[in-house]
Amino acid sequence: MKSSVERTRDLLGPADPARGFDPVPPHPVHALITRADSAPEVIVPVRPGSPAETGPPRTRPRLARRTVLLGAAAGVAGVAAGSVALGRVFRADDLPGPVLGAWGDDDVVRPLAYEFGDGAAPAADRLRDLADRITPSASDGGEGRYTAVRGRRWERTILRDVPLAQGPRPDVTGTAMPPSTPRPPGTSDPAGTASPTDTGLPPGTAYPTAAWPTNTVNTPVPPRTGVPTHTSLPTNTAVPPRTGLPVPTRTPIGPLVLDWGQGAGMVSETWSWYGPGWLAETDIRVRLEFVSADARQSWYAAHPDPIEPGRSDRGYKATYPELPAALARTTDEVVASLREANPRETVDIAVLVRQRGTDPAGRAGFLRTLADVQPHWVWRGEVVDRVGRTGVAISRPSPELGPDEPYWHAGDVVLIFDPASGELIGVERMRQADGALDEYRVFTETRRLAESGRTW
């Protein structure tokens, strides 16, 4: 008779999600050792009130109408444009070159500029408008077995909850203007050193702090009025300042203000190929990206031999001969799944649509379905994202945040769409309580390809 262990293996083995997965170690050992010897311990959890928590008190800021400018600014070209002939077969070499700026040029988080305020309108009708106006994008068309996706993802993960055991404290307030002085319109803050308010608190939180609205589905949406309301970016961006627009007071929050660690996050830039069935291949480049120039300076002062910026490591590789049922679903089926999803899963579905998405109708379906089934999203209007593209944003506070929940559960989400093609171009996640950025992602390319294998 078989043992309990053997019977467990017989039963569970066929359901092993990693069955047949045989990855190759992607990182040179010395890179790991360098990281191990230079970065603080990764897994030290810090709870509120512990000595390691260095942020300001976490009272909930009053919501006010203001424009948000997150991070320092730098000029980056927008996504590569160009029409795509339907049915064309792309090869890896057809993929456009870098659109995110040279790697290593700039390791400070770039801004997200947008305006928000009290009484933001429900997003539903605006999403339907967007769906009605969708135009083809550069990603559309193309045939092939692979989908290539390019993007960046920044997470304040590895250093976020780390005690400041070594080196000088980061000077997150830097050498900015006096805190209570509004920055004159049009002046730039290229170093990202803008200060929090004189209380040390972030001056605003991006989203409503009350329980999220559940009764807004039938709320009349005021007609769209006039010009987009975001402020101009600092002058060193690729996006020209918009003259003639009212310039609201610009107040920096988010990554300029709060970071538990040393103002550093890890950004990874990836080219991924989704082949028949599963991830075929990913090239990943990873580096630190700081919330401000001051944070960078402090961090390097504390870590004289840090992770080498710009190091490129080959990603993992796995291939599968057949398409799993889950990934064989059509975009329409993915979109339909939105009707049953937990609101927390919405972002995953949005990203999945983007990754599969070379299909304007599918994108429109996503936007309409989102409008129908998740009325709690609010419209945030036009934004300029972290690689300089103009988009339109919707946001929602954390759906499961109860009054007694800890702040680290309060991940507010912003989804950014291309205003013409309706493609998801970015995702932002922040903590509601303090507006601090937890994560941003940008998507710059999605292409159907006949082959995989491009490397940097």
Binding site: S4, V5, R7, T8, L11, L12, G13, P14, D16, P17, A18, R19, F21, P23, P25, H27, V29, L32, R35, A36, D37, A39, E41, I43, V44, P45, V149, T157, I158, R160, S272, Y274, G277, W278, T282, I284, G315, Y316, A318, P321, L323, P324, A325, A326, A328, R329, V334, S337, E345, T346, V347, D348, I349, V351, Q355, W408, V427, D438, E439, R441
Partner: protein, 180 residues
């Protein structure tokens, strides 16, 4: 610090550990995280810690490595950055026409308490012995055996109860997980 050539726990030793066990740790992550990217991040963290704590690594490193991975995951879950997804949501990385029995099994597994799931995964997927699983879990061998017994009993009961086998939407492809 000892001279490198006299220290067996040197870079060459680490290279061997890394090459030998990276696939195991990646698979561990793939079984508990929504995508390969997240699993890759987990593996990287595990081996960074392994280097830092190389003096503690036992002669049979795998259960120890799994234990590190388990704690990294637990910490990430606490930090709400990489919450492991229930098994039912783990993307199918297998092949087309996944047997209904597999879907049922995953759905049933997902209904169990996390400690039950973990002992079953460690035995059934990581293919550890009960003693090795005890090392990972930081409990005695006897306790691990009891846990396995109870978990198997609950799994059998869950399998006898019809479960929805999917959430009705395609699983997130790698690179997803934006809302974790």
């Amino acid at each position: 610090m000892e001279p490198p050539d006299l220290d067996p726990r040197n870079e060459a030793w680490f290279s061997t550990i890394y090459a030998d066990f990276y696939p195991h740790i990646m698979r561990y992550g793939m079984r508990r995280l929504p995508d390969a990217e997240a699993a890759g991040e987990l593996a990287q963290d595990v081996f960074v810690i392994t280097w830092r704590r190389r003096a503690e690594v036992p002669a049979a490193p795998l259960p120890w490595l799994y234990g590190v991975a388990r704690r990294v995951l637990a910490n990430r879950r606490r930090a709400d950055t990489h919450v492991p997804v229930p098994v039912a949501h783990v993307p199918d990385r297998g092949f087309q026409n996944e047997p209904a029995a597999v879907l049922d099994l995953r759905a049933a597994l997902a209904t169990l308490p996390e400690p039950d799931q973990e002992i079953l995964r460690l035995i059934g997927w990581e293919e550890l012995s009960v003693g090795e699983a005890a090392t990972v879990l930081g409990c005695s061998r006897t306790a691990a055996g009891v846990r396995l017994h109870r978990a198997r009993r609950r799994l059998t009961a869950a399998l006898a109860t019809p479960q929805p086998t999917s959430r009705g939407y395609a699983v997130a492809a790698p690179e997803t997980g934006g809302s974790r």
